[in-house]
């Protein structure tokens, strides 16, 4: 189902204001409640979820680094964000199967909001099954919760925890698989409970 914009041209829904409003509310909830998984399938048509995250948040005021080359050239004019070196980028898009080899902006003591937001593409997010089982605690979590992630290099989690070790400095992560979204703000304490080769599928 394609939607129409005001002049009648067909547009993928992720570029429409109504969709972006709905997706933003979902993003706001997943970042407020780490461990909550939202499924965006009904909004995406054929777009990858990471593109919908970027479409919802970016415009010409911010910079983006596409570290793993997940975007196509035609995505950039629509996103309007300017390309930036990863060390200076406001937003960073990565394929999480490859370990990070850069240092993102962590913000400053006076302006911790100058930190980067990372969008990490993993292969699957699930409450029960996956290669790495994580325990999450911190603001937004009622007690504690667990989440399983597949298709993420473990170095990401170690690196992320190090980057977030001196609050208020840190980075905020949005993990996406094909259609689902998980928020890991810098305040979330992430512990690896188990690493499983078969993803817990017995």
């Amino acid at each position: 189902m394609l939607k129409q914009d005001l002049l009648g041209a067909y547009v993928n829904p992720i570029w429409l204001a109504d969709t972006q409003q709905a997706l933003f509310k979902s993003l706001m909830q997943v970042l407020s409640r780490p461990g909550r998984l939202d499924n965006w399938a009904e909004w995406l048509e054929n777009s990858p979820a990471y593109l919908a995250v970027l479409a919802t948040l970016l415009d010409g005021e911010v910079s983006l680094a596409d570290v793993s080359g997940l975007l196509t050239e035609s995505n950039w004019p629509l996103l309007q964000a300017h390309k930036s070196a990863v060390e200076q980028a406001n937003y960073i898009l990565c394929d999480a199967t490859k370990a990070p080899t850069f240092l993102p902006k962590l913000g400053t003591l006076s302006s911790p909001d100058f930190a980067a937001t990372l969008i990490l593409k993993v292969s699957s997010l699930d409450k029960m099954q996956g290669n790495i089982r994580l325990k999450l605690t911190g603001p937004g979590v009622n007690g504690e919760t667990e989440i399983c992630v597949s298709g993420i290099d473990q170095a990401w989690l170690d690196q992320r925890n190090e980057w977030c070790s001196a609050f208020p400095l840190g980075i905020d992560c949005i993990l996406v698989d094909d259609t689902q979204i998980l928020g890991l703000p810098r305040t979330t304490k992430v512990e690896i409970l188990e690493v499983r080769d078969n993803g817990g599928l017995n």
Binding site: W15, L31, R186
Partner: protein
């Protein structure tokens, strides 16, 4: 390919419609939305944003209004409260502005029916749910302004969670006046780091921010700041071992809890007023929706008994 090329200017076209859904253009909304996510990720930190001119004076809740307009969609049900009431001039003006600029949304006066609640001076008595978002209007966002005039210095103090001077000031007031004199905007520490100005809510409402099921967003239009108290997050009013934080008391001279003259409630925040005819002091729930709901359940019970 051709599809995308044709539609690359879609956001411009949407923004240039006579006025956009939600009054703000999509760029203004995106900036506020990005700030909201930062505010959630750094609980209690005041995220700067470029507050837009609104067709009403700053100080009339434009910070809260811009938040609401950036969040709201056609599937939302909105409640607007001012000092606990849905019917005050301010609340009515804000609500009609939002209704006019957001065709298709629903509005309500009932907390239970709303998923988006914009408020000034009160947090509803009825506990909020996980699917609700509370937007509070804030006139002065920075709790440190009473001890440090320079914003640059305040930002460093906040970053270092250095509140020693604020605590000294608070303690001096207590010694001088033998009581915590701050009845409103009580400084509250979020997630053991940032101290926020809790907005002009009574002390009575401050504990509702702690471990809240609902996300709480605070917006200061004039000062151009957005901050947040995420759900399930520690929100602790500053206090001292010998002077613990306490909420307003509503006991009469004999130590008996005053009740609402209208619904009989003995556990809500009460407003005091003088009855015009009798000259008598009367007390009534400040939260008018809560008062109505109590009154309704009272009459249901009475008719059941009768």
């Amino acid at each position: 390919m051709s599809n995308q090329a044709k539609t690359s200017d879609t956001p411009f076209r949407q923004a240039s419609a006579e006025y956009n859904f939600g009054f703000l253009d999509e760029y203004a909304k995106k900036e506020i939305r990005r700030s909201v996510l930062k505010a959630i990720a750094i609980p209690g930190y005041q995220v700067p944003y470029s507050s837009r001119e609104m067709p009403m004076g700053r100080g009339f809740g434009t910070g809260g209004l811009q938040l609401t307009l950036s969040l709201i969609g056609k599937q939302d049900t909105l409640k607007v409260i001012d000092q606990g009431s849905d019917d005050s001039v301010n609340a009515v003006n804000l609500r009609s502005f939002i209704e006019m600029t957001c065709p298709g949304i629903d509005t309500t006066t009932k907390v239970a029916e709303a998923n988006l609640i914009q408020s000034r001076h009160r947090i509803p008595e009825q506990a909020l749910r996980e699917d609700q978002v509370l937007v509070l209007q804030v006139p002065y966002p920075d709790a440190l302004v009473v001890v440090e005039p320079s914003e640059d210095k305040r930002k460093i103090m906040h970053g270092e969670a250095d509140y020693s001077r604020l605590l000294v000031k608070l303690y001096e007031d207590i010694v001088k006046f033998d009581e915590i004199t701050i009845s409103h905007r009580y400084p509250t520490r979020i997630n053991r780091h940032y101290v926020i100005d809790s907005s002009p809510i009574p002390r009575w409402d401050v504990p509702k921010m702690n471990d809240s099921k609902a996300l709480i967003l605070l917006g200061a239009g004039r000062e151009k700041k957005i901050y947040a108290v995420p759900p399930y997050t520690l929100a602790e009013p500053l206090e001292f071992d010998d002077v613990p934080f306490r909420v307003e008391g509503f006991n009469d001279e004999t130590g008996k809890r005053r009740t609402c003259h209208r619904c009989g409630c003995d556990h809500s925040f009460l407003d005091e007023f003088i009855d015009a005819r009798s000259g008598e002091k009367l007390y009534q729930c400040s939260d008018s929706d809560y008062c109505d709901e109590q009154l309704k359940s009272l009459s249901v019970n009475q008719s059941l008994e009768g």
